[in-house]
Amino acid sequence: MTATCTVCEAQVDLPNNCCEGELLICGDCGTELEVIALDPITVEEAPQVQEDWGE
């Protein structure tokens, strides 16, 4: 089972016993995705707390 990353549209493999709410990391662009639904498989970019490395 794969989902399409919402940021870079790469295919992201879902772990077999994947459940709603599970967090995945897109191997291509590093975005953290949250599984919103399993049928059909929908994912959204998970809100990531942004470490403050800014100046």
Binding site: C8, C29, T31, Q50, E51
Partner: protein, 349 residues
């Protein structure tokens, strides 16, 4: 390749010469049969390159005359412009293969050479057979080449930032910015390079034009009027961060650009596309490739879908010079491209 192949380095006292000595000391198939330096012949290598003393114990620089007599199939030229071309001509005539780190064989058009380097090309007849020294662009031609050019370090960083967008023909214009380290200036003491004057500077050394632009125009087939190259010397010894402020000639989605970057770089042994998250790693920082032959490239797309920052990070002495030279030489000699070039980046450092 059981016995190592002897190679000779001409101009071995400079930073790129030292980097070639450093790489080849650990190369599985090559060994240094001679380190040529007119000015330092007879001097121990370790006296000029203290970090290499242990690896070249009791080895001295040799004169060009001695260098010319050594039987070696491959020579690296780390000589000043013009001297390189003349030496290349002689070496080629003896049947040796040449990787020339200077600018002398980078530009196919000797008129452009004359314009950017303000001197007549000493042997334009050799330009035809020379291959531009960036394996990611020319590895096929390199396999059968006799003469491979060097690469401008700033040009290299700009090419890695812009290639996917240039190939797709979607660049309307680009304001290319290179933030560079002091080792680009080479080993000789120059007025502005003393530590007190150079450290902590943000010195814009070229507002619009830099001679490395000629390679970007040639290799990416971009019209000169659509690009500019600004070079700022920053608080680094090694490293280039290229940030190109690109305006696209159409509106795109982020995923469209990811596809272009993925298609271009996913099979390259030395290139990685920076992740989108965490955000502070998205635009590549040369700190993460220091001391390696690796390239980091990445981009950010503005909300309007037309303004892009396309960026790259390299170590100017490695991927921007000696690393690409050894990578090209590997291909030219039929070895695997990554041989001797898999050092890991040094971080933090």
């Amino acid at each position: 390749m059981n016995r190592k192949m002897p190679v000779i380095i001409w101009g071995a006292t400079g930073f790129t010469g030292g980097e070639l000595l450093r790489i080849i000391a650990r190369h599985p198939y090559m060994e240094v049969a001679g380190a040529v330096s007119r000015s330092k012949a007879g001097t121990p290598i370790g006296a000029i390159h203290p970090h290499l003393r242990f690896a070249y114990q009791d080895v001295n620089f040799i004169s060009p005359e001695e260098g010319g007599k050594i039987d070696a199939g491959l020579v690296f030229l780390a000589l000043p412009h013009k001297a390189a071309a003349e030496t290349a001509k002689k070496r080629l005539s003896t049947g040796q293969k040449v990787v020339d780190l200077s600018a002398d064989f980078r530009l196919r058009d000797h008129e452009q050479y004359k314009r950017w380097y303000e001197t007549e090309h000493p042997c334009p007849e050799l330009l035809e057979g020379a291959v531009y020294g960036l394996p990611e662009l020319h590895r096929q031609e390199m396999a059968s080449a006799k003469l491979i050019s060097g690469v401008g370090c700033n040009a290299t960083s700009a090419i890695f930032a812009l290639l996917p967008l240039a190939k797709a023909g979607i660049i309307e214009n680009a304001r290319i910015e290179c933030r560079v380290g002091s080792s680009e200036g080479g080993a000789e003491a120059k007025e502005g390079s003393s530590h007190s004057l150079r450290s902590r500077s943000l010195r814009v050394v070229s507002p619009f034009l830099h001679r490395h632009m000629a390679e970007v125009i040639q290799e990416l087939a971009l019209p000169e009027e659509n690009i500019s190259m600004t070079v700022t010397a920053v608080e680094l010894v090694r490293g280039i961060q290229c940030i190109a402020h690109v305006t696209l000639n159409r509106t795109l989605r982020e995923a469209d650009i990811w596809k272009l970057f993925r298609a271009q770089w996913s099979n390259e042994p030395f290139v990685s596309v920076s992740p989108a998250k965490p955000a502070h790693f998205r635009i590549p920082d040369p700190r993460f490739v220091l001391g390696s032959n690796r390239v980091l490239t990445g981009f950010a797309l503005a909300e309007d879908g037309r303004r892009v920052i396309a960026a790259s990070a390299i170590d100017n002495l490695l991927k921007g010079a000696a690393g690409s030279a050894v990578q090209s030489a590997n291909i030219m000699c039929g070895a695997e491209e990554t041989a001797g070039l898999e050092m890991m980046p040094l971080y933090p450092a």
